[in-house]
Amino acid sequence: MDIRDLKKQADLSYDISVAKSNALEKALSRQQFAYEGHLFMANAETICLVKTLKELQQSPLYILDVNQNPVEIKDPDEFLDMLVKRNQETLNNYNNLYKELQKKI
């Protein structure tokens, strides 16, 4: 490879990296989610926490929202279901964008 090809490869890698970051950001912004008047992120951390607490103790559960306010979750099953649905919706879209980016490499 001569230096022009290397430069092209570097540009392509940069463009794909930025596009990937933007696709992830888009997914994360979609994970913002309101429940019982509080805001949460429907991310792996929240899902794991709710699932673990649900398995270890009976409802209600108490967790923190994005602003560190305590929230009583009266129906953990419903909450977990909503979290998983929102999380998978966003990651499915991210996955589709990611596959398209991979084709460009």
Partner: protein
């Protein structure tokens, strides 16, 4: 409980902001489906095309503020609390384009006041746009604000008015590098004061921003195409705050 979007729009001699407003309103109607109230002046109002069912409130705005040496009329934002007809208000900059319904989630919260503390630079693909410089407090983004009609929120907007009134003093006090009035700074100061110098509640996520160095080439049904240096980028189904005012010509 009523909910709605509040927008401020004033044309300047150099930028026809009403054209940005028209695009912004179209997207709010399409994706948020919320009632809209526009605060404007009579001159700008006369230039707007008919946009359907919208509430207008006409005021006389100040015309002595500047950005990068050009007229920049945005000093009336402190009036949002009094002018909003809604119990819960989504206060948006008109250059924030809602290509999704993501903002609707924010209206379902019990929090009185929410504002972004972080921005995401779409051009560079990372968090950025920190304008603190020597500022003694973190600078917030007044582009998207959710507020309710409560005493706490009223005190924030009253404090913004006070900060505006004594802007040079507060600039000096907090070591702000920006000498012209800017809502981002005024709200940062006001919230800092009203909140007892403690961190307030923030919007989750980061404000997605297309920086001034990126030029919007065209708008599509669900996004926009931009150029940054020699690169072309496209945004689809993603909210975006566009800083380059040349978009009025697209």
């Amino acid at each position: 409980m009523t909910q709605g979007v509040l927008l401020f729009c004033f044309d300047t001699p150099e930028v026809k902001y009403h054209r940005v407003l028209e695009r912004c309103v179209e997207l709010i109607k399409k994706n948020l489906k919320l009632e809209i109230t526009v605060i404007t002046n009579i001159e700008t109002f006369k230039r707007m095309k008919p946009m359907g069912m919208i509430n207008y409130k006409l005021i006389t705005n100040e015309t002595n503020n500047k950005l990068l040496g050009k007229p920049w009329y945005q000093t009336e934002r402190y009036m949002a609390y009094d002018l909003s007809p809604y119990d819960t208000t989504l206060l948006l900059d008109i250059d924030y384009f809602c290509y999704t319904d993501n903002l609707l989630e924010l209206l379902k919260t019990d929090q009185d006041f929410l504002i972004h503390d972080k921005a995401y630079d779409i051009v560079l693909g990372k968090e950025g746009l920190r304008f603190e410089r020597d500022s003694m407090i973190p600078i917030l983004w007044a582009t998207v604000i959710v507020f309710k009609k409560t005493n706490y929120c009223k005190s924030i907007f009253d404090m913004v008015k006070y900060v505006k009134q004594y802007w040079p003093y507060f600039c000096e006090l907090y070591k702000l590098g920006f000498k012209n009035f800017r809502n981002d700074y005024a709200f940062s100061i006001a919230i800092n004061h009203v909140n007892g110098y403690r961190m307030p509640t923030f919007l989750p996520g980061r404000l997605p921003t297309l920086t001034r160095s990126a030029e919007v080439l065209s708008f599509t049904d669900n996004g926009l195409i931009y150029r940054y240096q020699n690169k072309i980028g496209q945004l689809e189904n993603q909210d975006v705050h566009v800083l380059n005012k040349e978009l009025v010509n697209v």
